[in-house]
């Protein structure tokens, strides 16, 4: 049962690292965003729009989207290869897992494109 052909980098160690690095970026992004929302109650559109118009915030957001794609891929790969196994599903396991990962990949790509569109559409 070959599973490492669908991991992010074909190296478990590199995947492990990518998961950690992307996790730290996502943590920083969400802590900032939640912190901003908590410290700005009653925010209006102009303020919200200005935040995401800032070049730094766009770079930060784009970085978070890239990190999200890598992080979610490693995470969903881990889950798929742990649970969608021959033991659980029998002979069809490889097909089911491949389709599941294909759907995950398409969804992540769609999230990324959508995110870019939001950031540069404003």
């Amino acid at each position: 049962m070959v599973t490492n052909v669908t991991n992010l980098s074909r190296s478990g160690l590199y995947d492990w690292m990518a998961q950690r690095v992307s996790a730290v970026m996502l943590a920083a992004y969400f802590i900032f965003l939640i912190g901003y929302l908590v410290t700005h109650p009653g925010m209006d559109y102009a303020q919200w729009h200005e935040l995401f118009s800032h070049k730094g915030m766009r770079i930060f957001s784009l970085l978070a989207f890239v990190a999200l794609g890598a992080h979610a891929w490693v995470g969903m790969w881990t889950i798929a290869t742990d649970y969608l196994t021959q033991m659980a599903l029998g002979k069809s396991a490889t097909t089911v897992r491949f389709l599941f990962q294909a759907v995950c990949g398409v969804v992540m790509f769609a999230y990324f494109v959508w995110g870019v569109q939001i950031l540069w559409g404003i």
């Binding site: 802590i31 919200w48 999200l68 995470g75 881990t78 999230y111 559409g121």
Partner: protein
């Protein structure tokens, strides 16, 4: 299962037949919260798209967030995010070699649960 190269090779344990310790619960919750977030990102992106698209959209999202159902969904997503974050920080701490023993792992799991419950309740207070 087909015969492996060596007959004494270890066989994967079937998780469904094993009674889970506290560390297993925090681990599976980390995975479940991750899947919830993977799906939930679509809701967050939708809200971000709408709120940044136009002033009317911003007002609509803000108005929507006053409904009890929207508050519940927001709280659920925020809870998944906060739990995933806390459990993730624990992973990074363990990567640094801290709390890797059996006792350390159990204590770490309990700390993750305690910290998560506190900030999830705080998040609920913030939303309502």
């Amino acid at each position: 299962m087909k015969k492996a190269v060596k007959s004494q090779r270890p066989v994967n344990l079937d998780l469904r037949t094993i009674k889970l310790p506290v560390t297993a619960y925090t681990s599976i919750l980390h995975r479940i919260s991750g899947v919830i977030l993977f799906v939930g990102i679509s809701i967050m992106l939708y809200a971000l798209d709408k709120s940044l698209g136009s002033e009317e959209g911003f007002v609509a999202v803000k108005a929507c967030l006053t409904s009890p159902l929207a508050k519940l969904v927001t709280w659920a997503l925020l809870s998944a995010l906060l739990y995933h974050l806390v459990a993730g920080v624990r992973h990074l701490i363990m990567d640094a070699g801290i709390g890797e023993t059996l006792e350390g792992g159990k204590l770490g799991s309990k700390i993750v649960i305690a910290v998560s419950v506190v900030i999830i309740v705080l998040a609920g207070v913030w939303i309502w």
